[in-house]
Amino acid sequence: MHYLADADLRLDAGPIDYAILIIYFALVLGIGAMARRSVNSSLDFFLSGRSLPAWVTGLAFISANLGAVEIFGMTANGAQYGLPTMHYYWIGAIPAMVFLGLVMMPFYYGSKVRSVPEFLLRRFGRFAHLTNGISFAIAQVLIAGVNLFALATVVNLLLGWPLWVSIVVASAIVLAYTSLGGLSAAVYNEVMQFFVIVAMLLPLTFVGLHKVGGWQGLVDKIAPEVKGGEVAGSTADQLSSWPAMNLTGIGSATLSVLGVVFGLGFVLSFGYWTTNFAEVQRAMSAKSMSAARRTPLIGAYPKTLIALIIIIPGMIAAVLVPELRAVKAGTGDGSVTYNESILLLIRDLLPNGMLGIGITGLLAAFMAGMAANVSSFNTVFTYDIWQAYVVKDKPDDYYLKVGRMITVVGCVVAIGTAFIASTFDNIMDYLQTLFGFFNAPLFATFILGMFWKRMTPLAGGLGLIMGTASAVTVDTLNRVGVLDLAGQGASFVAASAAFVVDIAVSVAVSLVTKPKPESELRGLVWSLTPRDQLRHDDTGENAGWFRKPVVLGAGVLALTVVLNIIFW
């Protein structure tokens, strides 16, 4: 079955395209080698010595998320569902990023913790810390395997290299630069990857729009989505972002909007963007409180606009590419799926030269995705598992060494995961959804813990476990058919359940257990933190109205509202 797909997708990469690819990876390794010189302590290795400027951490912040799942997933959603996909950005990511920068970052950066689990340790003690530390470490290393497998599949499809060769080569490159240069190398490469991805997506959008006859041409030619002989998404559904019933699969318009706003916007996105250490780590590596708060806010601007150049090409692909037109009309022969939208569009639109940029952009994105997983995994493993529970009180260079070693282990496990994924790819899909559920209750625990000083250590741990369990339960019920939600609605409902259960369990447990003494909660709970500890220096390089977090946050929210209205 897959043979046909292979033949269809093989790109005509010429020597120039390979040259472009090789130049890129030479620079990637060069950055790793150069960053090596600035690594003198474990903090340099794991958090870039808290020295990076805000524009670098801001771009790395969104780049770390711009991996295989995002690029394939969001173009695929664009092709299948159309404009409602924008909610993942404008309702989902942006408000959460603004919230992180304005409300949560002062606690993360101000308390000087080195990871998100470490914040849990200080706020709730060991139970919550271990629960989160271990689940995060396992999730990251397995997701690194997913990214690696996605990358190998693409290399295999596009260039014809055997799967195992691409898996080994790609992981060797990631290992080389992350173990040499630590987070600095990962972050610098993420920024470089960001620009190359944009250089790939911009021409796809403009050339694509030109080819379909502009925006009006796209609107005229967009086709209804047919599944099993029935229209699953009309053209009207695809051309207005609300109420997104084709996206959520929820039959009532009101409930669909509620699912998007509460499930996707509030729970899933806030959970992901504000508590996922792979993201927050980028902000923690900023050089000052001001820069740390600006990190997600600066990232939010390109994130807002990238929605346009990632989703619109998806919609264009479903109009221009014959194979995808067949898929959408329900007459596809199974040789391609929506997931291949971006590959097919690159094949059909870009000549040699730009083709090389396209291939480089995709590979760079998947590799940076894996590097983000690996660099957050090694930090949490070293600080939150090894240093906290296994080998305590050693000098700093010992932990730097452990960090480098565990990076190797992480990459090797990721290779193993990638090989497992190559035989059971449905399992990987499932795992990925599952790990998404760890984040939803985490946000509930954080937000309650930051604003309610009465919340107890036991409540922190139990809330997380019960919240995750309820998300898994809802998801399983949907998979076996007890609940009947097509589309993406199931994960919105599962995440909402996790949030509600986490809050309920945490409040109930807190009321019957003993809270931590207030003296230990300074800097961790809003009401017990002196106000000036949450403020940051706004003189010198942090001066200027345009560097004020509130102004940056309000600006990006205004931009998002305008875009929401335009694409209503």
Binding site: S38, G49, L52, M192, N352
Partner: protein, 88 residues
């Protein structure tokens, strides 16, 4: 402002300028000298290599100029929030 010394971590803007200068030259060259009718048809009549090549050269110039105008420097005393580097 504090006394400055050379930054420990190298400047990313130089690397970005280098990357886009090289890519810009390659793509502009492809656009000018190696564009077939087939390539043009693929991209609906737009010489996309030439356009993106020029855009990349411009991007390289921006990063180069930015790095020249506001060079990277770190103060000798790196106290939280009080560094004197200016590169944003």
């Amino acid at each position: 402002m504090a006394e400055k010394k050379k930054a420990g971590l190298f400047d990313l803007r130089g690397i970005l300028a280098l990357l886009f200068a090289v890519y810009g030259v390659i793509l502009t060259g492809m656009g000018l000298f190696a564009t077939s009718q087939e390539d043009l048809d693929k991209a609906a009549g737009i010489n996309i290599n030439l356009v993106m090549g020029l855009v990349m050269l411009a991007t390289a110039l921006v990063f180069f100029g930015w790095a020249r105008l506001r060079p990277l420097a770190v103060p000798v005393t790196t106290e939280d929030g009080a560094s004197a580097e200016s590169d944003h």
